[in-house]
Subunit: 217 residues, 2 copies
DNA sequence: CAGTGTGAATATCTTCACAGCA
DNA sequence: TGCTGTGAAGATATTCACACTG
Protein backbone atom coordinates (compact mmCIF):
# COMPACT_ATOMS: atom_id res chain seq x y z
CA UNK A 1 0.00 0.00 0.00
CA UNK A 2 1.54 3.31 -1.07
CA UNK A 3 1.45 6.03 1.56
CA UNK A 4 -0.57 9.02 0.43
CA UNK A 5 0.73 12.52 1.01
CA UNK A 6 -2.77 13.91 1.23
CA UNK A 7 -5.56 11.76 2.53
CA UNK A 8 -8.42 12.91 0.30
CA UNK A 9 -7.88 12.31 -3.37
CA UNK A 10 -10.36 13.92 -5.78
CA UNK A 11 -12.57 11.53 -7.67
CA UNK A 12 -11.64 13.31 -10.88
CA UNK A 13 -7.98 12.58 -10.23
CA UNK A 14 -8.65 8.87 -10.02
CA UNK A 15 -10.37 8.72 -13.37
CA UNK A 16 -7.59 10.74 -14.99
CA UNK A 17 -4.96 8.41 -13.54
CA UNK A 18 -6.63 5.62 -15.47
CA UNK A 19 -6.13 7.62 -18.66
CA UNK A 20 -2.51 8.32 -17.81
CA UNK A 21 -1.87 4.60 -17.37
CA UNK A 22 -3.44 3.97 -20.76
CA UNK A 23 -1.28 6.52 -22.54
CA UNK A 24 1.86 5.48 -20.67
CA UNK A 25 1.32 1.88 -21.75
CA UNK A 26 1.00 3.08 -25.33
CA UNK A 27 4.22 5.07 -25.04
CA UNK A 28 6.00 2.14 -23.45
CA UNK A 29 5.06 -0.03 -26.43
CA UNK A 30 6.42 2.60 -28.78
CA UNK A 31 9.71 2.52 -26.90
CA UNK A 32 9.37 5.96 -25.29
CA UNK A 33 11.48 5.99 -22.11
CA UNK A 34 10.93 9.49 -20.72
CA UNK A 35 8.00 11.85 -20.95
CA UNK A 36 7.35 15.39 -19.71
CA UNK A 37 4.11 16.45 -18.10
CA UNK A 38 3.50 18.57 -21.18
CA UNK A 39 3.80 15.67 -23.65
CA UNK A 40 1.71 13.37 -21.50
CA UNK A 41 -0.85 16.15 -21.08
CA UNK A 42 -1.17 16.53 -24.85
CA UNK A 43 -1.68 12.81 -25.28
CA UNK A 44 -4.36 12.76 -22.58
CA UNK A 45 -6.07 15.99 -23.53
CA UNK A 46 -5.52 17.71 -20.19
CA UNK A 47 -3.46 20.55 -18.74
CA UNK A 48 0.19 19.82 -17.78
CA UNK A 49 -0.16 21.17 -14.22
CA UNK A 50 -3.18 18.97 -13.83
CA UNK A 51 -0.94 15.98 -14.33
CA UNK A 52 1.73 17.23 -11.96
CA UNK A 53 -0.87 17.98 -9.32
CA UNK A 54 -2.59 14.62 -9.74
CA UNK A 55 0.71 12.79 -9.34
CA UNK A 56 1.66 14.89 -6.33
CA UNK A 57 -1.16 13.25 -4.37
CA UNK A 58 0.76 10.02 -4.43
CA UNK A 59 4.38 11.08 -4.24
CA UNK A 60 7.22 12.55 -6.26
CA UNK A 61 7.81 10.51 -9.37
CA UNK A 62 9.46 13.01 -11.67
CA UNK A 63 13.00 14.24 -12.20
CA UNK A 64 13.32 18.02 -12.49
CA UNK A 65 14.66 19.16 -15.81
CA UNK A 66 14.05 15.70 -17.28
CA UNK A 67 10.48 14.50 -16.85
CA UNK A 68 9.06 11.13 -15.84
CA UNK A 69 10.43 7.70 -16.62
CA UNK A 70 7.55 6.05 -18.47
CA UNK A 71 7.84 2.57 -17.00
CA UNK A 72 8.44 3.72 -13.43
CA UNK A 73 5.60 6.22 -13.54
CA UNK A 74 3.17 3.69 -14.97
CA UNK A 75 4.07 1.16 -12.28
CA UNK A 76 3.83 3.78 -9.54
CA UNK A 77 0.35 4.86 -10.65
CA UNK A 78 -0.83 1.28 -10.97
CA UNK A 79 0.38 0.56 -7.48
CA UNK A 80 -1.36 3.67 -6.18
CA UNK A 81 -4.61 2.56 -7.80
CA UNK A 82 -4.31 -0.94 -6.39
CA UNK A 83 -3.63 -2.47 -9.80
CA UNK A 84 -0.41 -4.18 -8.81
CA UNK A 85 -2.50 -7.31 -8.21
CA UNK A 86 -5.29 -9.13 -10.03
CA UNK A 87 -8.88 -8.86 -8.88
CA UNK A 88 -11.41 -11.65 -8.98
CA UNK A 89 -14.76 -10.55 -10.32
CA UNK A 90 -18.21 -12.12 -10.68
CA UNK A 91 -20.79 -11.03 -13.21
CA UNK A 92 -24.56 -11.11 -12.73
CA UNK A 93 -26.82 -10.93 -15.79
CA UNK A 94 -25.86 -12.82 -18.92
CA UNK A 95 -27.58 -10.73 -21.61
CA UNK A 96 -25.96 -9.18 -24.66
CA UNK A 97 -23.79 -6.90 -22.60
CA UNK A 98 -22.87 -9.53 -20.03
CA UNK A 99 -21.80 -11.92 -22.79
CA UNK A 100 -19.69 -9.24 -24.42
CA UNK A 101 -17.90 -8.56 -21.15
CA UNK A 102 -17.34 -12.26 -20.53
CA UNK A 103 -15.75 -12.62 -23.95
CA UNK A 104 -14.00 -9.26 -23.94
CA UNK A 105 -10.32 -9.96 -23.31
CA UNK A 106 -9.70 -6.45 -22.05
CA UNK A 107 -10.90 -7.07 -18.51
CA UNK A 108 -8.48 -9.94 -18.00
CA UNK A 109 -5.65 -8.03 -19.63
CA UNK A 110 -6.22 -5.23 -17.13
CA UNK A 111 -6.12 -7.55 -14.16
CA UNK A 112 -9.82 -8.21 -13.63
CA UNK A 113 -10.55 -11.91 -13.89
CA UNK A 114 -14.16 -12.97 -14.19
CA UNK A 115 -14.43 -16.15 -12.12
CA UNK A 116 -18.20 -16.55 -12.08
CA UNK A 117 -21.21 -15.78 -14.29
CA UNK A 118 -24.73 -15.76 -12.86
CA UNK A 119 -28.26 -15.38 -14.20
CA UNK A 120 -31.74 -16.22 -12.97
CA UNK A 121 -33.05 -17.33 -16.38
CA UNK A 122 -33.36 -21.18 -16.42
CA UNK A 123 -32.64 -21.18 -20.16
CA UNK A 124 -29.26 -19.58 -19.58
CA UNK A 125 -28.22 -21.60 -16.53
CA UNK A 126 -25.74 -24.30 -17.52
CA UNK A 127 -24.74 -22.57 -20.73
CA UNK A 128 -20.99 -22.16 -21.15
CA UNK A 129 -19.54 -18.80 -22.15
CA UNK A 130 -15.83 -18.08 -22.44
CA UNK A 131 -15.07 -21.16 -20.37
CA UNK A 132 -17.50 -20.31 -17.57
CA UNK A 133 -20.72 -22.14 -16.76
CA UNK A 134 -23.66 -19.84 -16.06
CA UNK A 135 -24.91 -20.46 -12.52
CA UNK A 136 -28.25 -19.64 -10.89
CA UNK A 137 -28.06 -16.21 -9.25
CA UNK A 138 -29.48 -17.48 -5.97
CA UNK A 139 -26.38 -19.63 -5.59
CA UNK A 140 -24.14 -16.60 -5.89
CA UNK A 141 -23.40 -16.05 -2.19
CA UNK A 142 -22.52 -19.69 -1.60
CA UNK A 143 -20.42 -20.02 -4.76
CA UNK A 144 -18.63 -16.75 -4.19
CA UNK A 145 -17.43 -17.80 -0.78
CA UNK A 146 -15.52 -20.64 -2.44
CA UNK A 147 -13.64 -18.22 -4.67
CA UNK A 148 -11.92 -15.08 -3.41
CA UNK A 149 -14.02 -12.40 -5.02
CA UNK A 150 -13.99 -8.69 -4.20
CA UNK A 151 -15.80 -7.05 -7.12
CA UNK A 152 -19.20 -7.67 -8.70
CA UNK A 153 -20.42 -6.54 -12.11
CA UNK A 154 -24.17 -6.08 -12.66
CA UNK A 155 -25.43 -6.42 -16.24
CA UNK A 156 -29.06 -7.29 -15.52
CA UNK A 157 -32.08 -5.33 -16.72
CA UNK A 158 -32.72 -2.32 -14.43
CA UNK A 159 -35.59 -3.89 -12.51
CA UNK A 160 -33.36 -6.76 -11.38
CA UNK A 161 -30.31 -4.67 -10.50
CA UNK A 162 -31.12 -4.29 -6.81
CA UNK A 163 -31.71 -8.01 -6.39
CA UNK A 164 -28.39 -8.72 -8.06
CA UNK A 165 -26.77 -6.18 -5.75
CA UNK A 166 -28.31 -7.88 -2.73
CA UNK A 167 -26.83 -11.22 -3.73
CA UNK A 168 -23.45 -9.57 -4.17
CA UNK A 169 -23.68 -7.81 -0.80
CA UNK A 170 -24.69 -11.06 0.85
CA UNK A 171 -21.59 -12.61 -0.67
CA UNK A 172 -19.50 -9.97 1.07
CA UNK A 173 -18.39 -8.21 -2.09
CA UNK A 174 -16.54 -4.91 -1.51
CA UNK A 175 -17.18 -3.08 -4.77
CA UNK A 176 -19.81 -3.07 -7.52
CA UNK A 177 -19.76 -1.84 -11.11
CA UNK A 178 -23.36 -1.43 -12.20
CA UNK A 179 -24.14 -1.37 -15.92
CA UNK A 180 -27.90 -1.47 -15.34
CA UNK A 181 -29.59 1.92 -15.73
CA UNK A 182 -30.86 2.02 -12.15
CA UNK A 183 -29.59 3.38 -8.83
CA UNK A 184 -28.83 0.69 -6.27
CA UNK A 185 -28.61 0.83 -2.49
CA UNK A 186 -25.51 -0.44 -0.76
CA UNK A 187 -23.77 0.23 2.56
CA UNK A 188 -21.30 3.09 2.44
CA UNK A 189 -18.27 0.83 2.85
CA UNK A 190 -19.10 -0.81 -0.49
CA UNK A 191 -17.88 1.18 -3.47
CA UNK A 192 -20.44 1.48 -6.27
CA UNK A 193 -19.69 2.78 -9.76
CA UNK A 194 -22.29 3.36 -12.44
CA UNK A 195 -21.64 2.79 -16.14
CA UNK A 196 -24.26 3.94 -18.61
CA UNK A 197 -23.09 4.84 -22.06
CA UNK A 198 -26.55 6.07 -23.02
CA UNK A 199 -25.53 9.16 -21.05
CA UNK A 200 -22.67 9.70 -23.47
CA UNK A 201 -24.97 9.41 -26.45
CA UNK A 202 -27.27 11.93 -24.75
CA UNK A 203 -24.31 14.28 -24.30
CA UNK A 204 -23.34 14.00 -27.94
CA UNK A 205 -26.92 14.57 -29.04
CA UNK A 206 -27.09 17.65 -26.83
CA UNK A 207 -23.79 19.03 -28.07
CA UNK A 208 -24.80 18.57 -31.69
CA UNK A 209 -28.08 20.34 -31.04
CA UNK A 210 -26.22 23.17 -29.34
CA UNK A 211 -23.63 23.51 -32.08
CA UNK A 212 -26.36 23.64 -34.67
CA UNK A 213 -28.18 26.32 -32.72
CA UNK A 214 -24.98 28.36 -32.51
CA UNK A 215 -24.57 28.05 -36.26
CA UNK A 216 -21.23 26.31 -35.90
CA UNK A 217 -22.28 23.67 -38.38
CA UNK B 1 -34.94 24.28 -30.04
CA UNK B 2 -35.62 25.42 -26.50
CA UNK B 3 -34.21 28.81 -25.64
CA UNK B 4 -31.64 28.62 -22.88
CA UNK B 5 -31.70 31.11 -20.05
CA UNK B 6 -27.97 30.83 -19.50
CA UNK B 7 -25.75 30.10 -22.44
CA UNK B 8 -23.15 27.88 -20.79
CA UNK B 9 -24.52 24.71 -19.31
CA UNK B 10 -22.17 22.70 -17.08
CA UNK B 11 -21.13 19.35 -18.44
CA UNK B 12 -22.07 17.78 -15.12
CA UNK B 13 -25.60 19.10 -15.49
CA UNK B 14 -26.02 17.34 -18.83
CA UNK B 15 -25.06 13.95 -17.47
CA UNK B 16 -27.37 14.40 -14.50
CA UNK B 17 -30.26 15.32 -16.78
CA UNK B 18 -29.86 11.91 -18.37
CA UNK B 19 -30.32 10.34 -14.94
CA UNK B 20 -33.38 12.47 -14.23
CA UNK B 21 -34.97 11.30 -17.49
CA UNK B 22 -34.29 7.72 -16.49
CA UNK B 23 -35.92 8.08 -13.08
CA UNK B 24 -38.83 10.12 -14.45
CA UNK B 25 -39.55 7.38 -16.96
CA UNK B 26 -39.55 4.86 -14.13
CA UNK B 27 -41.96 7.02 -12.14
CA UNK B 28 -44.19 7.51 -15.14
CA UNK B 29 -44.47 3.75 -15.55
CA UNK B 30 -45.44 3.44 -11.89
CA UNK B 31 -48.18 5.97 -12.44
CA UNK B 32 -46.60 8.80 -10.45
CA UNK B 33 -47.97 12.10 -11.76
CA UNK B 34 -46.19 14.72 -9.66
CA UNK B 35 -42.80 14.72 -8.01
CA UNK B 36 -40.96 17.21 -5.80
CA UNK B 37 -37.31 18.04 -6.27
CA UNK B 38 -36.68 16.29 -2.97
CA UNK B 39 -38.26 12.98 -4.05
CA UNK B 40 -36.56 13.06 -7.43
CA UNK B 41 -33.28 13.91 -5.73
CA UNK B 42 -33.55 10.87 -3.48
CA UNK B 43 -34.23 8.62 -6.45
CA UNK B 44 -31.24 10.03 -8.32
CA UNK B 45 -28.87 10.21 -5.39
CA UNK B 46 -28.27 13.95 -5.60
CA UNK B 47 -29.12 17.11 -3.68
CA UNK B 48 -32.58 18.69 -4.23
CA UNK B 49 -31.22 22.16 -5.01
CA UNK B 50 -28.94 20.54 -7.53
CA UNK B 51 -32.00 19.41 -9.43
CA UNK B 52 -33.71 22.78 -9.21
CA UNK B 53 -30.57 24.53 -10.37
CA UNK B 54 -30.00 22.10 -13.21
CA UNK B 55 -33.54 22.58 -14.44
CA UNK B 56 -33.28 26.35 -14.13
CA UNK B 57 -30.73 26.35 -16.94
CA UNK B 58 -33.48 25.38 -19.34
CA UNK B 59 -36.53 27.15 -18.00
CA UNK B 60 -39.16 27.03 -15.26
CA UNK B 61 -40.87 23.68 -15.25
CA UNK B 62 -42.15 23.45 -11.69
CA UNK B 63 -45.20 24.66 -9.85
CA UNK B 64 -44.47 26.27 -6.48
CA UNK B 65 -46.01 24.47 -3.57
CA UNK B 66 -46.69 21.43 -5.78
CA UNK B 67 -43.62 20.13 -7.57
CA UNK B 68 -43.07 18.96 -11.14
CA UNK B 69 -45.49 17.13 -13.39
CA UNK B 70 -43.61 13.95 -14.24
CA UNK B 71 -44.62 13.64 -17.88
CA UNK B 72 -44.18 17.33 -18.69
CA UNK B 73 -40.82 17.53 -16.98
CA UNK B 74 -39.53 14.42 -18.72
CA UNK B 75 -40.62 15.77 -22.11
CA UNK B 76 -39.12 19.18 -21.39
CA UNK B 77 -35.75 17.69 -20.45
CA UNK B 78 -35.74 15.41 -23.46
CA UNK B 79 -36.46 18.35 -25.69
CA UNK B 80 -33.67 20.34 -24.04
CA UNK B 81 -31.24 17.48 -24.63
CA UNK B 82 -32.31 17.11 -28.25
CA UNK B 83 -34.00 13.78 -27.60
CA UNK B 84 -37.36 14.80 -29.03
CA UNK B 85 -36.23 13.20 -32.29
CA UNK B 86 -34.49 9.99 -33.29
CA UNK B 87 -30.83 9.97 -34.25
CA UNK B 88 -29.31 7.84 -36.95
CA UNK B 89 -26.06 6.22 -35.87
CA UNK B 90 -23.36 4.16 -37.56
CA UNK B 91 -21.05 1.79 -35.73
CA UNK B 92 -17.44 1.02 -36.67
CA UNK B 93 -15.80 -2.12 -35.29
CA UNK B 94 -17.81 -5.32 -35.07
CA UNK B 95 -16.03 -7.09 -32.20
CA UNK B 96 -17.62 -8.42 -29.02
CA UNK B 97 -18.63 -5.00 -27.84
CA UNK B 98 -19.84 -3.81 -31.25
CA UNK B 99 -22.02 -6.89 -31.60
CA UNK B 100 -23.49 -6.37 -28.14
CA UNK B 101 -24.40 -2.79 -29.01
CA UNK B 102 -25.92 -3.85 -32.32
CA UNK B 103 -28.11 -6.38 -30.55
CA UNK B 104 -28.75 -4.27 -27.45
CA UNK B 105 -32.30 -2.97 -27.78
CA UNK B 106 -31.63 -0.08 -25.41
CA UNK B 107 -30.07 2.19 -28.01
CA UNK B 108 -33.11 2.01 -30.25
CA UNK B 109 -35.48 2.40 -27.33
CA UNK B 110 -33.70 5.62 -26.42
CA UNK B 111 -33.97 7.02 -29.92
CA UNK B 112 -30.57 6.06 -31.35
CA UNK B 113 -31.03 3.89 -34.42
CA UNK B 114 -28.01 2.05 -35.74
CA UNK B 115 -28.36 2.20 -39.52
CA UNK B 116 -24.92 0.92 -40.50
CA UNK B 117 -22.25 -1.46 -39.19
CA UNK B 118 -18.69 -1.32 -40.53
CA UNK B 119 -15.50 -3.32 -40.08
CA UNK B 120 -12.27 -3.74 -42.02
CA UNK B 121 -11.95 -7.49 -41.35
CA UNK B 122 -12.80 -9.41 -44.59
CA UNK B 123 -14.12 -12.30 -42.49
CA UNK B 124 -16.72 -10.06 -40.90
CA UNK B 125 -17.79 -8.17 -44.02
CA UNK B 126 -21.07 -9.51 -45.32
CA UNK B 127 -22.04 -11.07 -42.02
CA UNK B 128 -25.53 -10.08 -40.85
CA UNK B 129 -26.07 -8.90 -37.27
CA UNK B 130 -29.39 -7.69 -35.91
CA UNK B 131 -30.67 -7.19 -39.45
CA UNK B 132 -27.64 -5.20 -40.62
CA UNK B 133 -25.02 -6.34 -43.10
CA UNK B 134 -21.45 -5.58 -42.05
CA UNK B 135 -19.86 -3.31 -44.65
CA UNK B 136 -16.19 -2.57 -45.38
CA UNK B 137 -15.08 0.46 -43.37
CA UNK B 138 -13.54 2.15 -46.39
CA UNK B 139 -17.02 2.41 -47.88
CA UNK B 140 -18.29 4.25 -44.81
CA UNK B 141 -18.19 7.82 -46.19
CA UNK B 142 -19.99 6.86 -49.39
CA UNK B 143 -22.59 4.72 -47.64
CA UNK B 144 -23.21 7.25 -44.93
CA UNK B 145 -24.09 9.94 -47.43
CA UNK B 146 -27.00 7.81 -48.57
CA UNK B 147 -28.43 7.68 -45.06
CA UNK B 148 -28.88 10.71 -42.84
CA UNK B 149 -26.38 9.99 -40.09
CA UNK B 150 -25.17 12.40 -37.43
CA UNK B 151 -23.49 10.21 -34.81
CA UNK B 152 -20.76 7.58 -35.07
CA UNK B 153 -19.87 4.91 -32.51
CA UNK B 154 -16.31 3.54 -32.48
CA UNK B 155 -15.84 0.04 -31.08
CA UNK B 156 -12.57 -0.85 -32.78
CA UNK B 157 -9.35 -1.84 -31.01
CA UNK B 158 -7.49 1.27 -29.83
CA UNK B 159 -4.90 1.27 -32.62
CA UNK B 160 -7.66 1.54 -35.24
CA UNK B 161 -9.76 4.16 -33.46
CA UNK B 162 -8.24 7.17 -35.22
CA UNK B 163 -8.72 5.59 -38.65
CA UNK B 164 -12.33 4.87 -37.81
CA UNK B 165 -12.70 8.46 -36.64
CA UNK B 166 -11.22 9.72 -39.91
CA UNK B 167 -13.79 7.77 -41.92
CA UNK B 168 -16.55 9.19 -39.75
CA UNK B 169 -15.24 12.74 -40.10
CA UNK B 170 -14.96 12.29 -43.85
CA UNK B 171 -18.59 11.23 -43.83
CA UNK B 172 -19.48 14.55 -42.20
CA UNK B 173 -20.54 13.08 -38.87
CA UNK B 174 -21.18 15.65 -36.12
CA UNK B 175 -20.62 13.60 -32.98
CA UNK B 176 -18.62 10.52 -31.95
CA UNK B 177 -18.93 8.15 -29.03
CA UNK B 178 -15.61 6.35 -28.71
CA UNK B 179 -15.50 3.04 -26.83
CA UNK B 180 -11.90 2.36 -27.84
CA UNK B 181 -9.39 3.11 -25.10
CA UNK B 182 -7.54 5.76 -27.11
CA UNK B 183 -7.78 9.53 -27.51
CA UNK B 184 -8.83 10.63 -30.99
CA UNK B 185 -8.35 13.90 -32.84
CA UNK B 186 -11.34 15.68 -34.29
CA UNK B 187 -12.19 19.28 -35.19
CA UNK B 188 -13.69 21.27 -32.34
CA UNK B 189 -17.14 21.44 -33.92
CA UNK B 190 -17.41 17.64 -33.67
CA UNK B 191 -18.47 16.47 -30.23
CA UNK B 192 -16.46 13.51 -28.93
CA UNK B 193 -17.40 11.44 -25.88
CA UNK B 194 -15.25 8.70 -24.40
CA UNK B 195 -16.67 5.57 -22.83
CA UNK B 196 -14.29 3.26 -21.01
CA UNK B 197 -15.68 1.16 -18.22
CA UNK B 198 -12.22 -0.08 -17.30
CA UNK B 199 -11.94 3.31 -15.60
CA UNK B 200 -14.86 2.41 -13.38
CA UNK B 201 -13.27 -0.90 -12.46
CA UNK B 202 -10.07 1.02 -11.65
CA UNK B 203 -12.06 3.36 -9.41
CA UNK B 204 -13.66 0.49 -7.56
CA UNK B 205 -10.30 -1.24 -7.13
CA UNK B 206 -8.85 1.99 -5.77
CA UNK B 207 -11.73 2.59 -3.38
CA UNK B 208 -11.52 -0.94 -2.04
CA UNK B 209 -7.79 -0.55 -1.49
CA UNK B 210 -8.41 2.75 0.30
CA UNK B 211 -11.20 1.39 2.47
CA UNK B 212 -9.03 -1.54 3.48
CA UNK B 213 -6.19 0.82 4.36
CA UNK B 214 -8.55 2.87 6.49
CA UNK B 215 -9.65 -0.27 8.30
CA UNK B 216 -13.24 0.20 7.22
CA UNK B 217 -13.46 -3.42 6.14
C1' DC C 1 18.16 25.48 -18.31
C1' DA C 2 14.35 22.48 -18.78
C1' DG C 3 10.77 20.70 -16.31
C1' DT C 4 9.06 19.28 -11.70
C1' DG C 5 6.48 20.33 -7.40
C1' DT C 6 3.48 23.51 -5.17
C1' DG C 7 1.25 27.67 -2.99
C1' DA C 8 -1.69 31.13 -4.55
C1' DA C 9 -5.30 32.69 -7.84
C1' DT C 10 -8.99 31.53 -10.60
C1' DA C 11 -12.76 29.04 -12.28
C1' DT C 12 -16.29 25.80 -11.65
C1' DC C 13 -19.63 23.21 -9.17
C1' DT C 14 -22.58 22.32 -5.16
C1' DT C 15 -25.22 23.50 -1.27
C1' DC C 16 -27.55 26.70 1.64
C1' DA C 17 -31.09 29.74 2.75
C1' DC C 18 -34.82 32.25 1.87
C1' DA C 19 -37.87 35.33 -0.90
C1' DG C 20 -41.93 34.66 -3.52
C1' DC C 21 -45.63 32.30 -5.74
C1' DA C 22 -49.55 28.69 -6.39
C1' DT D 1 -48.48 26.19 3.73
C1' DG D 2 -45.24 23.75 0.62
C1' DC D 3 -42.13 23.77 -2.74
C1' DT D 4 -39.97 26.22 -6.50
C1' DG D 5 -36.40 29.43 -8.30
C1' DT D 6 -32.26 31.83 -7.25
C1' DG D 7 -28.59 34.92 -5.24
C1' DA D 8 -25.05 34.34 -2.05
C1' DA D 9 -21.85 31.25 0.44
C1' DG D 10 -19.14 27.41 0.56
C1' DA D 11 -16.58 23.53 -1.37
C1' DT D 12 -13.90 21.53 -5.16
C1' DA D 13 -11.24 21.46 -8.98
C1' DT D 14 -8.23 23.59 -12.38
C1' DT D 15 -4.79 26.65 -13.93
C1' DC D 16 -1.14 29.93 -13.21
C1' DA D 17 3.31 31.26 -11.95
C1' DC D 18 7.49 30.60 -10.09
C1' DA D 19 10.91 28.83 -6.73
C1' DC D 20 13.83 25.04 -6.94
C1' DT D 21 16.55 21.13 -8.43
C1' DG D 22 18.92 17.44 -11.29
Amino acid sequence: MPHLKHDRIPRATISRLAIYVQELEGMEQQGVKVVSSEKLANACGVNPSQIRKDLAYFGEFGVRGVGYYVFELKEAIKQSLGLDKTWNVVLVGVGNLGRALLRHGVLRKRGFIIVGAFDCDPFKIGEEIAGLEVICSSKLPAKTNELYVEIGIITTPPERAQRAANYLLEAGIKGIVNFAPARINAPSNVSVEYVDFIHNLFSVAFNITQNQAKGLI
